[in-house]
């Protein structure tokens, strides 16, 4: 096991992990502020990728396509939330979860009907020429993904610490009734959190498309990966979502390197079950999922 092997798989793992971290972060923020475990999170990732691909194929510059895609996914998510999940009483989280599962199934079918069964790919942001890092060949897109995730996290950190809306959302996550008594519009914060989660998913979808392509059925596996990342890190904890995402990405990269190709798919599921049963607080620690 030499340095080149470690760096090669390490960077791949961190890049994948950064994507999982973003999706898991969106999942966690949504769950904390609106008590919705969003099964459709993965479909928002795919939708973000496909809209960006369509715009870029139609001649839009990459940055415009990406921005338009993130905005479009956020708007769609807001409409979907107001039309469906938002109308189910908050007191019944199970019903809300099942509604998001229904949305996930319907969205997957809609993605297949609109965009077909062919896997599409956004062009890499800065070409395909690999970068040499201590003898390991690194795809530049992997570095873009990592940088993009870091930027997204910095922006989120500013949002939660530096803006009144962000503070209000944190307050709602902490204590719904208390926040409501202080005059924060809790229902509105739930919508915003859902939209924010979907927007993060779309960002992840745009960034990962050049690496892993985008096709309609990628949604559910991504949701499961995001959930696994959240549990491994510590459910409900944003730092945990990032740590868990990175851990899961590294686990996957090295299991692909060491295990036969089909069996390595089992790694995230095995990690999810192991953590749920043996260490439900996760790596970083947080509330125990009930």
């Amino acid at each position: 096991m030499d340095l080149q092997f470690l760096i090669q798989n390490g960077v791949t793992g961190i890049a994948n992990g950064a994507v999982y971290a973003l999706i898991a972060l969106g999942f966690t923020l949504t769950y904390n502020a609106s008590r919705v475990a969003n099964f459709a999170q993965g479909q928002f990732v795919v939708l973000g990728g496909l809209i960006a691909i369509t715009l870029v194929e139609a001649g839009a510059p990459l940055l415009v396509g990406a921005a338009a895609s993130v905005i479009a996914v956020s708007v769609i998510a807001g409409v979907v939330y107001l039309a469906t999940i938002g109308r189910v009483p908050e007191s019944d989280p199970f019903r809300r979860i099942m509604v998001t599962l229904g949305i996930a199934l319907a969205a997957e079918a809609a993605l297949q009907i609109i965009w077909g069964t062919e896997a599409r790919r956004l062009p890499p942001f800065t070409g395909d020429q690999p970068v040499d890092l201590f003898g390991a060949a690194i795809a530049p897109q992997a570095l873009w993904v990592i940088a993009g995730a870091i930027v997204a996290m910095i922006v989120l950190n500013w949002f939660f610490r530096g803006t009144r809306t962000g503070q209000a959302m944190l307050a709602v996550s902490e204590d719904r009734e208390g926040a409501g008594l202080l005059g924060i519009r809790v229902a509105w914060m739930s919508v915003l959190a859902f939209v924010l989660g979907a927007g993060l998913a779309a960002v992840a979808g745009v960034m990962v498309s050049p690496i892993s392509s985008t096709v309609y059925f990628h949604g559910l596996p991504l949701t499961v990966a995001a959930f696994a990342a959240a549990v491994v890190g510590g459910f409900g904890n944003p730092v945990g979502a990032v740590v868990g995402g990175l851990a899961l990405g590294l686990l996957q990269a090295f299991s692909v390197a060491w295990l036969p190709s089909g069996i390595s798919d089992a790694a995230p599921f095995a990690a999810l079950i192991a953590f749920l049963i043996l260490r439900p607080r996760g790596l970083v620690g947080s509330r125990v999922l009930t």
Partner: protein, 342 residues
């Protein structure tokens, strides 16, 4: 309520058959008579698959509707049943009279072994843990060489139970319907028994149930094993009916479909689940070449049921029935249905 009420509770005084029982008998007779009128093999095939699905769905009604333990991984146990029974007939050359019970036994044992650790989880955690378990089994089915993986396992023995040859379309229909009916009677009796009441106690108030002396962990493990055993029976029937299985049939989509059938039926209702299972299984037949729209319909149904119709098909019928009763007998105070009979 059905005729088996009388068998299970002899103290009940004899009286005229209630309208519901008559309706039940009429539905069963209609189901039995369908092959006499429907000559089309296409629809007969879809209905046969409905009865096969129903066996697994009924077990989930008990697990989910009554004990309140969700599973998004039951496709794994359908797969275990299919592969165990299929491979037993192919590799060991045994009859279906041996291989199908063997499949059920394996389904029970594996389900019980997994239930002990996994059913300590609740709610969302349980949903995701069972989902992950299902995916792990799916990967095992796909990667093992003996199962043929995604390329499939051809040449499984057809539906011949010893002297009973059910390979003709009508035979398969009646055979699988008989198994589904037997399963329904069994589940109905479990629901109305002490075990059923314990399950509902565990499902609605686990702490109170434990304090009342119910060994919740054992009951949960037992009902999980019961449902996985029925899932394995369903898988075994499927394998011998279709005679070709591939790992793709036993993944997350089947697990989710089984849950949808349970919730659209009304979660706790056996006959509601039956109606939902038949409706959703034959749905792709109506869509013809537009198979991708079935996902859209399944998803939309799930959203609509959980937004407006938590009682599913059974709840809808109950509401309509109460409205009709209210309209036809305006003066008499309405008798509320006891929770037990739902």
């Amino acid at each position: 309520m059905g005729w088996w009420d009388r068998v299970s509770s002899p103290s009940r005084r004899t009286r005229r058959l209630p309208p519901r029982a008559l309706l039940g008998v009429a539905v069963v007779l209609t189901a039995l008579a369908i092959p006499l009128f429907v000559g089309d093999r296409f629809w007969l095939n879809l209905l046969t698959l409905s009865w096969i699905n129903l066996v697994a769905v009924l077990g989930l009604v008990l697990l989910f509707g009554h004990a309140n333990q969700i599973s998004f991984g039951h496709a794994a146990f359908v797969g275990i049943g299919a592969y165990v029974s299929g491979l037993a007939t192919m590799e060991l050359g045994v009859s279906l009279l041996v291989s199908v019970p063997l499949a059920m036994a394996v389904g029970w044992v594996v389900g019980y072994a997994l239930a002990r650790p996994v059913l300590r989880l609740h709610g969302l955690a349980l949903a995701m843990a069972t989902l992950a378990l299902g995916e792990l089994f799916f990967i095992v089915f796909r990667e093992l060489s003996i199962t043929g993986g995604a390329n499939g396992l051809p040449g499984i023995s057809p539906l011949v139970f010893g002297p009973l040859d059910l390979t003709a379309p009508e035979g398969a229909y009646w055979g699988t319907l008989a198994v589904a009916l037997a399963t329904a009677v069994l589940c109905h009796n479990v629901i109305r028994s002490r075990v059923g009441r314990c399950l509902r106690a565990i499902g609605s108030a686990p702490t109170a149930a434990t304090v009342s002396g119910i060994d919740a962990a054992s009951y949960k493990a037992a009902i999980f094993a019961f449902s996985t055993s029925l899932a394995a029976l369903s898988g075994a029937l499927y394998a011998h009916y279709v005679t070709f299985i591939s790992s793709d049939s036993f993944g997350l989509p089947l697990s989710i479909l089984l849950v949808i059938m349970v919730v659209v039926g009304g979660v706790r209702s056996l006959w509601g689940a039956a109606a939902a299972t038949v409706g959703l299984t034959i749905l792709p037949g109506y869509l013809g070449g537009y198979g991708e729209y079935s996902g859209l319909i399944y998803g939309a149904l799930l959203v609509l049921v959980f937004m407006y119709l938590s009682g599913g098909v059974a709840g809808l019928v109950e509401t309509v029935n109460q409205e009709l009763t209210r309209l036809s007998v305006p003066k008499r105070p309405q008798r509320s249905t006891p929770a037990e009979t739902r």
